[in-house]
């Protein structure tokens, strides 16, 4: 399947040349990934360091690891040495889970219906409806946050889980509508036609064709929107406070004017990233479609 440029260097490229080329490519790829993965490795290392090792100048590469940062961050255990932030990471984690799951549940329900309508049913101004959804993807978050801030203060939705779940729809619905639309469009129209001719009503059609056929796509899209909601930072930053603080936001609270608690911040960062990496690996095969809102299919 892959059309490699190397394939066509043909008879002109001698065996030795091929070997050199292959070696160069391996070096390049290893080089890239050393740089790309290094920050993760460094932060994992830092999360296992004691306060003295964290601020050591020059930095220490080999050190006696400690679980202190994780104990302090996850269990709220007081650090023996050094300071401790008053950030409640377990609560932030719960907030993230609740807000992301609820947001995606709502968005999957309504977004899939919309995607199906846009993909398979005749509709006036269909393309404008599609652009309406996409326009949210392009808008700066602050353009929605500032007026919403005023509205939420009036309605009492400021610093509530519900308020953030509503805002997350701005992220999840466009993603789901556009990505799922491309999956629904991939189902042959004849399948629907024949179901309708057989007298199936719309719910039967959805249940028997529209849901089962792209079900891996549905799962992948749900996971990708979960990651997108989890990653969001601006909504909880500006429309919430301590009670609704998410884990993504909590990571940054270890940096204050007085001090930076590097070790605990590193531990919090690891706790934030790990669930996402697990989810990310699960949906690797579907990532292209999700990232481009269905514009490019894998």
């Amino acid at each position: 399947m892959a059309v490699a440029v190397a394939d066509i260097s043909g008879p002109a490229g001698s065996r030795a040349q091929q070997q050199v080329k292959s070696a160069v490519m391996h070096v390049l790829i290893v080089l890239y990934f050393v740089v790309a993965v290094f920050p993760f490795a460094w932060i994992v290392g830092m999360s296992l360091k004691q306060p003295a090792d964290v601020i050591a100048d020059p930095p220490v590469i080999f050190f006696a690891p400690t679980a202190e940062n994780y104990e302090s961050v996850l269990l709220g255990k007081r650090a023996e040495r050094g300071e401790q932030a008053r950030t409640d990471i377990p609560r932030a984690f719960r907030n993230s889970v609740v807000i992301a799951l609820a947001s995606v549940a709502v968005a999957m329900l309504v977004g899939n219906l919309g995607a199906f309508a846009l993909a398979k049913l005749k509709l006036p101004a269909r393309e404008w409806a599609a652009f309406f959804f996409l326009s949210f993807r392009f808008a700066p978050a602050l353009a929605f946050i500032i007026p919403t801030f005023v509205v939420y203060r009036t309605l009492g939705l400021y610093n509530t889980h519900l308020g953030l779940i509503i805002m997350n729809q701005l992220i999840a619905i466009p993603l789901i509508v556009w990505t799922m639309r491309s999956y629904y469009e991939g189902i042959s129209h004849e399948l629907f036609e024949s179901a309708w001719i057989d007298g199936a009503d719309i719910w039967e059609t959805i249940r028997s064709i529209a849901l089962p056929l792209p079900s891996p796509g549905i799962a992948a899209t749900a996971i990708l929107s979960l990651i997108a909601c989890w990653n969001n930072f601006t909504f909880p930053l500006l429309l919430g406070a301590r009670e609704t603080q998410t884990i993504t936001l909590a990571t940054i609270t270890f940096i204050s004017y007085e001090q930076v608690l590097w070790g605990q911040m590193a531990a919090a960062a690891v706790v934030t990233i790990v669930p996402e990496l697990i989810l990310g690996v699960l949906v690797m095969g579907y990532i292209v479609r999700g990232l481009t809102y269905g514009a490019v299919k894998e």
Binding site: I8, G13, F40, F144, M265, V296
Partner: protein, 314 residues
């Protein structure tokens, strides 16, 4: 018997168009019914945004709750403010460096990952690491690495190579390039992933023909691969252009627009005006301006995607 059959046939053929048009009408009603819930929530939020546009014609102080209609004053005020033009220039500068670097690096990476290399599965898995990381957390990782003292690992490497220590994010001249570097680290995998999908969907025939004609690898790349990849470049390019114009998380997590105003992009200016100086109406005016810029770029992307959808991309 025969007559009966003929009648039956006639009834069937007469019934079909009726059934079809009735079904189409039903289908249209149904489509609207299905679309309404998914439109409803974004519509409410869109109303909020329209309210925000309304706010740009007012003086809206958060602290005093003072609200006064003041026409186009906010817009005129911004047009004469040097810090607004500075923020706009910073935003464009960030985007104009960021996007080409990511496209070039992403293409290189995609070409490599399209080869038969050892450990390909591992590489492709590692590729998505930064993609799954929240941008603000990703920027924190780099803030740690780029610490402007000897305790920073990057500076430690420079020193051990006999090079002078750098300020990176803390240096006015280096803040923006450092932020670009972080953004490149975060989003080159995005570009590479999509370009790789493009490379893998390319037809084989042109390459076989080129091989017969004795074309070199470079010629094949230049005259077959690049032209065929244009639609993919346009899609990733637009996505990255919009997102880099909207850059916020990485800057908030590292420099907060500083030092001074060295990395103060439009979003940072809007945040400061709105939530630091409690001048909501100026803040929203800045973001409405940015919104308009992003919509123009976004509409171009939309048109491109529409064309490709009809032509059938991948």
């Amino acid at each position: 018997m025969q007559a009966e059959l003929a009648v039956h046939e006639r009834a069937k053929s007469a019934a079909l168009p009726v059934a079809r048009s009735a079904r189409e009408a039903r289908e249209k009603r149904l489509a609207l019914a299905l679309l309404v819930p998914s439109v409803l929530i974004p519509m409410l939020l869109m109303l909020t945004f329209l309210f925000g546009i309304g706010m740009t014609f007012t003086q809206w102080r958060l602290t005093t709750g003072f609200v006064r209609f003041n026409g186009l004053d906010n817009y005129l005020d911004l047009l004469t403010r040097r810090d607004f033009w500075h923020a706009f220039a910073m935003t464009l500068k960030f985007s104009l460096i960021d996007v080409p670097v990511e496209l070039a690096l992403g293409l290189g990476l995609a070409l490599l990952l399209n080869e038969k290399l050892k450990g390909l599965r591992l590489w492709r898995t590692l590729l998505i690491l930064p993609l799954m990381t929240p941008p603000v957390v990703g920027s924190l990782l780099w803030k740690v690495i780029m610490r402007p003292t000897g305790a920073g690992i990057l500076n430690h490497m420079l020193i051990s190579m006999g090079l002078p220590m750098q300020g990176f994010l803390g240096d006015p001249g280096q803040a923006l390039p450092s932020l670009v570097a972080i953004d490149v680290w975060l989003y080159t995998p995005f570009v590479a992933t999509i370009l790789l999908a493009g490379l893998q969907s390319l037809p084989r025939e042109p390459y076989e023909a080129a091989l017969v004609d004795g074309a070199s690898a470079w010629q094949a790349f230049r005259h077959i691969t690049l032209p065929l990849m244009v639609p993919y470049f346009i899609i990733v390019g637009f996505f990255r252009a919009i997102d880099s114009l909207n850059v916020f998380d990485t800057i908030y997590g590292t420099t907060s627009g500083g030092p001074g105003d060295a990395s103060r992009v439009l979003n940072m200016m809007a945040l400061e005006e709105g939530f630091l100086w409690y001048n909501l109406s100026i803040g929203i005016t800045v973001t409405v301006f940015l919104w308009a810029v992003c919509m123009v770029v976004g509409y171009m992307l939309f048109r491109h995607v529409q064309r490709e959808r009809r032509g059938g991309l991948a």
